[in-house]
Chain length 162, copies 2
DNA sequence: TATTGTTATACTCTATAACTATA
DNA sequence: TATAGTTATAGAGTATAACAATA
């Protein structure tokens, strides 16, 4: 009962390949959006009110808080989001989508889903759902940033903006 | 039947988080190995003779061929691999593991598997196998580099060096 | 003419530290 | 003293182009 010692048996190898393939696909879909695929994730994170401050979004996305500044500068410059003072903490800023931002998010969301289905084409429909679910659970439970940024994922929200 | 528009419903978000978490874990495990986790993948790719030239390994790993030069310079300097002329094509070099390289690969492989199991801890054992299998199939089928680098993955080899 | 491997350069992304304003 | 956000700098990683050797 020894290990295969093959690259294609390595989880890191498979994760890297799939992630890069997804990234390439997503970059084409969101071309023109400030920040690329990460810019989309900022919009999506800010869209549900539970994760709205810059730091919370940064933790949710797994990036340093310093990158949020540039990212939000661009997204705000494009008129997609606004930085509003947090009434509960004057140090923090709450990121809210503008009407244009919500519209853009809807459009991107639809096209990204289509692109993802093409990426997952080698799998059966039920397998695609399984993979999505397993990765989602792993991403919400395996985050090194603590559970604070992940609590929002425990339930599939009924909020629906489209 | 509209889309949720939540970050945690985005495949790219989950892939990014899980991949980063895996990368951090792997970097600790392979600390000291030239090239880090990618150096391990080179060793694993070169270990099965089917993928042995620098270009084939680069495609298998999804990196540019120029990075293979630095990566192999370090691994060869550490005495883990050798560059041998390809008898069939004098332009190409076949990468073969030294005895030390095979030994190192065995050790890394075992420890990486342990680390991966810790990463997959939030999932049930059967779910972990499912995730590994789905990602493996996707990585071998979804590669943009064509099928040439992926043919090796169709069967679980009986070769076992440990 | 196309391909393998190498080298040099430039660019992007990220990490780190320092600073402010608030808590 | 600790935290949210900003800014500047340095480093790692990556992509591009040019080159030599071979097909």
């Amino acid at each position: 009962m020894t290990t295969p010692q093959r690259v294609d048996a390595d989880l890191g190898w498979a994760l890297g390949r799939v992630t890069r393939a997804h990234l390439r696909t997503a970059q084409e879909v969101v071309s023109g959006l400030p920040g690329g695929p990460r810019g989309y994730q900022v919009l999506a994170a800010a869209n549900d009110g539970e994760v709205s401050t810059q730091l919370a979004i940064a933790r949710m996305l797994g990036v340093d808080r310093t990158v949020m500044t540039y990212l939000l500068d661009e997204l705000e410059g494009a008129g997609l989001v606004e930085r509003r003072p947090d009434p509960a903490d004057r140090r923090a800023r709450r990121i809210v989508l503008t009407a244009a931002g919500r519209e853009r998010l809807c459009d991107l969301d639809r096209r990204l889903r289509e692109a993802e289905e093409r990426l997952l084409a080698p799998l059966e429909p039920t397998e695609r759902d399984t993979l999505r679910e397993l990765l989602r659970r792993l991403a919400t439970g395996a985050g090194q940033d603590g559970a604070s940024a992940c609590q929002v994922a425990e339930e599939i929200a009924a909020t629906d903006g489209c």
